[in-house]
Amino acid sequence: MRRLGRVLSSIMPFAIIGGLLYAGIFVKPKATGDSVEPPVLQPRDAFYGIAVPDDKVIWAVGRGGKVVRSEDAGAHWISQKTPSRQSLQSLIAWDARRAFAVGNQMTVLHTEDGGKKWSALAGFAQAGEVQKLIRARSGAGGNAWIVGEMGSIFATADYGQTWVRLGKREDLAWNDIAAHGAWLTVVGEFGHIRLSEDGGANWKEVASPVKSSLCAVMYRDERNGVAVGLEGVILVTKDGGRTWSKVASGTAEHLYDVAWTGQRWVAVGDQGLILTAEDPSDAWLVRSISERSYAWHTGLVSRGDRLYVAGATLAMIDSKNKVQTFK
């Protein structure tokens, strides 16, 4: 027993020291905090396109192929997986399940199940086509159109099953398209406007009062439409797009999208601006969406008495101009 005690008391010091040495050499400090699950909406995000297929569902696409969706009017968001990392420029949704997204490098994605599965539309681009598709617009029935760089204009009449090419290949980017009946209006770079009165078979160049790019066009009825563009340009037509005249916008900032709410015209653009007018030929009211926000917006959707904007921020504006920026 005493021998054992002696041996133990001789070994103990070295056991303690050995243990500490082992700890010193092999134990490395570890960070306790795990990586934080990144929020769905991040400060670096940019959303170019937005769709609001019903009162609850908000859907947006943007830079780096990001697709986000909320099914509770913006309270919670999920990020949807897609097969592409290309930036998506625009989104159309016929309902909460069926949607198309278009973007860089001729990317066209579609979903039939609310975005649980997005798939790339095969055989859309011809060989060597890498242009950016800028805007998709949907119409009544299964009609939809896509415009983009290199003169791209595409149309479908069956919810995107089959597409036809309407425009010829040329070094000109179309930024938006608007349809009423068989009449189609496209607007694009350098102030170009073209009109087709036969669903896209024949196009004619419309005289444009500006040389700067036009970014968006919208009609409130068969005759009255508004186009907006860079450097604060606002053009108005009262004859279905045959003639356009420039009106004073009250700003020199770029304008990227325009919408008709049912009561008034709204446009959004750079520096957090939002412009409104009941009669587009009258003076437009220019103000900031929210104070100290200088974010740009390229997407504008009106639904019910609410406006939804997409860009450097995603936000909803209610009828009393109260802004909810989604986070």
Binding site: R6, S10, P13, G24, K28, P29, K132, T298
Partner: protein
């Protein structure tokens, strides 16, 4: 194991040495006086300064990356100056002029890297515009400050449009502007920087503008600024120490000799440091004081023993001094050697500052062998009328009552309570000690108080901007122009997005931020084109356009001219150990999640990068040095007592003082960092000195044939009294440190007091109880074998 024959040989050697010292006392004192004078001449030349480079583990990969890229990507010396307006925003002519003034005058500060002064008023911050003629790139506010309201509105507009300025150099609410400036490592002089930047900021403060400054050079400037105060506190501590020693010892010898021991030690150590070409870091002064406390303790033991020898009937001063020197030679030298051994192991920590501290500290501790163990008894031998007291206040009965209590505890069942309580305290504090944080435990600098100007400035800047503490990681390609590849830029952008989501990260910056902005500008400012180029050629063109509008070197802070290495700068709101560790692990996670990346991510530079390296070294090395220090201790005890069990026995006070200290640090939120590590390392040896004296005397009394409890009583009344005197006086004195404006010193004062208290308490309460309980062989073995009675027998042998 110890046989009288064996133990006799060294004893007689010691006896011969003691006899020689006392006999040749004049020669000994003269030689030491001359040496002290020489060292004093050297010591007064020692420089007091902080060298940041000294704090870095030079072989750590992070430090190598930092050294390679710090000149362009931003070093750990970066200083941020914030000008904050009370009313309105910064876009007022007077405020803009102030920003310009600061920017211009920083050019003249000593050691400044003129290419790294960045602000709204610097030439480097540009406005980039697409115009009909092409790209127009011009400085935002250089060389002239706008005067008219129109010009100011234009500037404001340009700032708001520029994401490289808005939020980074102008706060989001437009109420503050930032100026950042970097310094060359080898030319840095903290005092000059602090004074010169202080003069600049004072000249622009006022008229509704508050100026705030942070950065390591400023922090160390503050420490330097408080140096006179540190000196004054040191002086007050010294005076208090003298007064308390004088009160308790009641003799001039009991006051002046310990003090002399401390002073001589300091002079020798500082002189030696100067000889080695070392300088003194102001924050290391605490270590100096700690060692001085050791010298004083040893000397007090000798004086106390001398007094006891006289009281026990020694013939004269010389005889009493000889007896004291002889009796305490072994525990004294054991204490010194063990302390020195514990100190020297710190040299294995690959941080130059700590290695220098370890070397100076070891030399310093070793000088105690001369200044206290030899010089004190030699001087004591001259005392003429040793039985007079210098003042009538007698605290000795009080001390004896206290010590009597300790004796009663050891000799009654109370000892079980004490040992059990110790075990509980050990376990509890041992568990709690794991809460000790490596790195800084709180936001702001732990060196200064939370309400200090510096820490308030840091908080204000971190609140307004994305963070003042920076880290850069380097994205390295394998060939020239590798970073123009879309994949490389995408990888950088993805990394930035990932890092920005981590807590503690305020923002990131890289060339992958510039390319999309330039791309957008090239496309009429259309945000649909705010993206990286799709090809190597496109990115190359974009970067070419960007650089063609700027001066050579302007883009160096983002990428090298060959486009082979680029920086991603990450801004942090604090540099707590936890923040840094999680940031590093997130970077590593990202690297692990992208194994097929075309570029290599290399960690890490800037302040956060180097701190990460330092913290990594410190944790593992701290445990390692505790282990090695314990090994040294065990070996010292094993050699001195020829028993491994002795090593185990003396581990008790050491381990206890370590777990309690770490618990205290964890509780008070004191992190284990570059400044606290040397003190903690020194503390390892510190816990044991008092126990050496007490236990050794118990052993000696037992050898003389005293019964156990009588031996304990004799030991506690003599060695124990010495412990009580030093502990009480030193604790009371170091508590004065709490008044320091430097929080680090205040906390270290408390820590030191705690240490002294623990080691005194263990030596007076726990060790005697353990002796009774465990009856260690090395203490009891020689009982009855050799028993010269106290004083006289040994003296005859010695003289």
């Amino acid at each position: 194991m110890t046989s009288p024959e064996l133990s006799k040989a060294p004893e007689s050697k010691v006896a011969r040495f003691v006899r020689f010292c006392i006999r040749q006392r004049l020669a000994v004192v003269l030689v030491m006086g001359v040496l002290t004078a020489v060292f004093a001449l050297l010591a007064v030349q020692i420089e007091i300064k902080t060298v940041f480079d000294d704090q870095l583990p030079q072989n750590h990969p992070y430090i190598k990356v930092n050294d390679q890229f710090k000149q362009t990507f931003g070093s750990s010396n970066m200083v941020s100056i914030m000008l904050e307006v009370k009313d309105g925003d910064i876009f007022q002519p007077s405020v803009l002029k102030k920003i310009q003034k600061v920017t211009q005058e920083l050019q003249l500060v000593d050691g400044v890297n003129q290419f790294q002064i960045i602000s709204l008023a610097a030439k480097k911050l540009k406005e980039i515009r697409a115009s009909t003629e092409g790209i127009d790139i011009k400085p935002l506010m250089w060389p002239k400050v706008p005067k008219t309201q129109g010009e100011i509105d234009k500037l404001k507009d340009a700032v708001l449009r520029n994401p490289l300025v808005y939020g980074t150099y102008v706060s989001a609410d437009l109420k503050a502007a930032l100026v950042t400036v970097d310094f060359y490592d080898n030319e840095i002089n903290y005092k000059k920087i602090y004074d010169q930047i202080g003069a600049i900021t004072r000249s622009v403060a006022g008229d509704g503008v508050t100026v705030r400054v942070v950065g390591e050079p400023i922090l160390y400037g503050w420490v330097r600024h408080y140096l006179p105060e540190t000196g004054r506190i040191f002086l007050v501590t010294l005076v208090a120490l003298i007064a308390l020693l004088f009160l308790t010892a009641r003799t001039w010898r009991g006051t002046l000799l310990p003090l002399l021991a401390g002073v001589v030690s300091s002079i020798w150590a500082l002189g030696a440091a100067r000889l080695l070409g070392f300088h003194l870091d102001p924050l290391v002064i605490v270590v100096a004081f700690l060692i001085t406390a050791r010298a004083i303790s040893h000397s007090v033991q000798l004086v106390t023993h001398y007094d006891d020898e006289l009281a026990a009937g020694a013939e004269n001063s010389a005889a009493a001094a000889t007896a004291a020197m002889y009796a305490l030679f072994k525990p004294g030298m054991l204490g010194v050697v063990a302390d020195a051994g514990c100190m020297i192991v710190v040299i294995l920590t690959p941080i130059p500052l700590l290695q220098k501290v370890a070397m100076i500290g070891t030399v310093w501790v070793l000088t105690i062998a001369i200044s206290a163990v030899v010089l004190t008894p030699v001087l004591l031998s001259w005392i003429k009328r040793p039985n007079q007291f210098a003042h009538p206040i007698n605290v000795r009965p009080m001390m004896e009552r206290l010590l009597g209590g300790c004796v009663r505890i050891a000799s009654t069942r109370m000892r079980y309570v004490v040992v059990a309580a110790t075990a509980v305290i050990f376990v509890v504090s041992g568990i709690y000690a794991f809460k000790l944080k490596v790195g800084d435990a709180n936001p702001g600098s732990p060196i200064l108080w939370g309400d200090s100007t510096y820490n308030q400035d840091a908080a204000a800047i971190n609140q307004r901007f994305q963070g003042a503490d920076r880290m850069f990681v380097v994205f390295s390609g394998d060939k020239t122009d590798a970073l123009k590849e879309p994949a490389a830029l995408q990888s950088m952008a993805a990394f930035q997005a990932y890092m920005e989501n981590q807590p503690g990260v305020g923002g990131t910056l890289s060339m992958a931020d510039i390319v999309p902005i330039m791309n957008r500008i090239l496309h009429e400012g259309n945000p649909r084109y705010e993206e990286l180029g799709t090809s190597f050629v496109e990115n190359g063109e974009i970067m070419y356009l960007f650089t063609s509008g700027t001066d050579p070197g302007d883009i160096d802070r983002l990428v090298d001219p060959q486009y082979k290495n680029a920086s991603v700068t990450i801004l942090f709101r604090d540099h707590q150990g936890e923040t840094i560790r999680s940031a590093i692990s997130h970077v590593e996670d990202f690297v692990a999640a992208h194994p097929d990346s075309t570029v290599k991510i290399r960690l890490a530079g800037g302040l956060i990068g180097v701190l990460a390296a330092v913290n990594e070294i410190i944790l593992s090395k701290q445990i390692e040095s505790i282990a090695l220090a314990l090994l040294v201790l065990v070996l010292c005890c094993a050699v001195a007592y020829r028993s491994l069990a002795a090593g185990l026995f003396f581990m008790v006070p050491v381990l206890l003082s370590n777990t309690l200290t770490f618990s205290f640090m964890a509780w008070k939120g004191i992190g284990m960092n570059i400044n606290t590590l040397p003190i903690a390392a020194l503390g390892i040896g510190l816990g044991v000195d008092y126990s050496f004296y007490v236990v050794d005397e118990i052993r000696e009394e037992l050898r003389r044939g005293e019964p156990l409890f009588k031996a304990i009583e004799l030991s506690l009344m003599s060695a124990g009294r010495g412990v009580l005197i030093t502990a009480a006086t030193l604790i009371t004195s170091v508590v004065i440190w709490y008044l320091s404006s430097i929080r680090f010193q205040a906390e270290m004062g408390i820590l030191m007091a705690l240490w002294l208290f623990i080691s005194a308490a263990t030596s007076l309460l726990v060790m005697p109880a353990l002796v009774v309980l465990l009856k260690p062989k090395f203490i009891f073995e020689s009982v009855g074998k050799s028993g010269p009675s106290r004083n006289t027998a040994m003296l005859q042998e010695a003289m």
